[in-house]
Amino acid sequence: MKNRITQLFKRKDKEILSIYFTAGYPNLDNTTTILTHLEQAGVDLVEIGIPYSDPLADGPTIQKSGQIALDNGMTLQILFEQLKNIRETVQIPIVLMGYLNPILQYGVNNFLQQCAVLGVDGIIVPDLPMEYYKQHFEEACHTLNISNIMLISNETSQERIRQIDQCTTGFIYMVSSNSITGANKDLNTQTDYYSRIQQNKLNNPTLIGFNIHNNDTYKLSCQYSSGAIIGSAFVKHITANGIAQNSINNFTNQIKNNN
């Protein structure tokens, strides 16, 4: 079984658009609808957020969506049930993004097994340390062909970037500037960092995420990496405009300036 993330980057190394949404938000059973509509809208890759009570790296928008999802009753178990037949309809790569504690309680091996069975291609666990990954995740990830996607920021040292590149498969998640999600930092002040990473010739391609919210920031990301990841701006959009196909098309069109 080929990994869809690796295949995607083989086929396309520019202007990749990846969208994040929180599982169970706005309603418990929206997961497959949002996935289908994102694929229809031409999104290349999706990240499904596993809601958590204490998301340290997230700003108010994603925090609130997670809290509502939890109030709606979302759990990892329910999310896996919702994804049961997803590969009959959706073909774009799917990444699960979540904090380590709920995964530990579910059981690391059970979690990775479920991901493989359902056709989840990668995981992003922002608070998973490299050594812990190597001890408890790496072997299963390799056997099950699941990408482990790690983050770097403008504060990450060159030495750490090399180590992270070794522990990562699929792509590196390049945080646009050292912040939580949805902060309004000016990306134009970070272009030295983007060029430095571009010139690093890492093993993995990079996508820039955090604070990407319009066509300008999307284009800037595409200039310096293989594309962009959008989270808070999409969550805000569906909060205001709903999850219908039209609404989601409008969002991706705005970002790509297809109007």
């Binding site: 504690n101 608070d127 340390p129």
Partner: protein, 396 residues
């Protein structure tokens, strides 16, 4: 062994470590690389000890309580951390960390607070040492702890309400961590207990270890031994307990008792007994015991005492409890209140509600007459007068 250290990755057995997002790594790595060098530096030690002596008022007395000793038929000593400037042990840590922050050229201090004791100690130290100070406090706690909010403001700190989650201590901690992520260069985060990612549990333990260092010296003078039979302390995150236990952990003699808040009882939903009831997992960047659902969501705890109202526990305590070096007990709201009124009546000391949990253990343990028992009175009860006065009018 005189010192109790984690391994170089910050683990005590399987507990501890640094489970943090990449955006926090730069800050944490800087601390990990420098904290030991700085706190072992001679000029740092001199400045720290001078301030503890002349500003905080250390050493704090080790008071032999005649009345309690008679009643419980053992030699009962009270370690008077309540007599520190600002009224609790918290300032031992804030002075240490803020001196360290200055040596790292930080310009601004952030902190979390629950009841406000750590916030007041941080604001106080910042006023003294001339740093900008922002304290995150749950919106619910701001309502409950008005006098400490006013103190922090008078001391020049900005108090920012934490509006996320349950709006209490764990959320104030989340907000402080997020603020630190957004300010990776000029800011130091002063954590108030032996919790959080490595090196905080070890760093805070070392700053609080002055408590057991003094107890050992004072007992040598009074009892001609540096090995008490018992040391008893309350645990929220576990900093006053870690400080009171530190030099006795490996002496092969002293029985160490850590007292958690049972709230309305460990068999109820309203409790904060993180070791007794918790499961292994991650909270605020550390592997430890915490109160959580089967799905790994962190549960909001309950205790009458805001300082013990924390769903986790320092990783060193999780480890010491697992290997049997520390015994963990849980005390209810009601038992703590009784103990507070009792000490006030017998000895004229109004303890903090947190410390009252430790005092309540005297009722539960059968001592020998020759036993030397030290109870750490971590703070004074001024901040709890509203709670106490409710029971007071009740009694009349």
């Amino acid at each position: 062994m005189k010192h109790f250290n984690p391994d170089e990755k910050g683990y005590y057995g399987q507990y501890g470590g640094a489970f943090i997002p990449e955006m926090l790594q730069a800050n944490i790595i800087e601390l990990q690389e420098h904290y030991l060098t700085i706190i072992k530096d001679e000029s740092f030690i001199v400045e720290y000890q001078q301030l503890l002596k002349d500003y905080v008022g250390r050493p704090t007395p080790l008071f032999y309580s005649n009345n309690l000793s008679k009643q419980y038929n053992a030699k009962i000593y009270l370690k008077r951390e309540d007599l520190n400037h600002t009224g609790a042990h918290k300032i031992n840590n804030t002075i240490g960390q803020i001196l360290l922050a200055k040596r790292l050229n930080k310009k601004r201090i952030i902190a979390e607070t629950g009841a406000g004791q750590h916030g007041v100690a941080t604001a106080t130290t910042c006023a003294l040492l001339g740093l900008e100070c922002t304290v995150f406090m749950g919106a619910v706690d701001i309502e409950r702890q008005k006098p400490n909010v006013e103190r922090m403001k008078m001391l020049g700190a900005e108090v920012v309400p934490a509006l996320s989650g349950s709006q209490t201590l764990k959320d104030a901690t989340n907000e402080a961590i997020r603020e630190w992520i957004n300010n990776p260069k000029d800011t130091h985060y002063v954590i108030g207990s032996v919790v959080g990612p490595h090196p905080y549990p070890d760093m805070v333990a070392k700053f609080q270890s002055i408590i057991s260092e003094e107890i050992a010296k004072q007992l040598m003078e009074k009892e001609n031994t540096d090995k008490p039979d018992y040391v008893i302390a309350c645990v929220g995150g576990g900093s006053n307990a870690m400080g009171a236990f530190y030099h006795f952990i490996d002496n092969g003699h002293t029985k160490l008792i850590a007292v958690e808040a049972a709230g309305k009882g460990v068999d109820t939903e309203e409790t904060a007994a993180s070791i007794t009831l918790g499961q292994k997992g991650i909270i605020h960047g550390s592997m430890t015991y915490l109160m959580q659902t089967a799905d790994g969501q962190i549960i909001e705890p309950y205790s009458i005492s805001a300082g013990l109202d924390y769903p986790g526990i320092g990783p060193a305590h999780a480890y010491l409890s697992d290997i049997g070096k520390v015994t963990v007990e849980a005390v209810t709201d009601e038992e703590a209140i009784q103990a507070a009124f009792h000490l006030t009546k017998t000895d004229g000391i109004i303890p903090a509600l947190e410390s009252a949990h430790a005092l309540a253990i005297l009722e539960k343990v059968k001592f020998n007459p020759s036993d030397i028992v030290v109870v750490n009175v971590s703070g004074r009860g001024d901040k709890d007068m509203l709670t106490y006065s409710k029971y007071f009018t009740h009694e009349k």
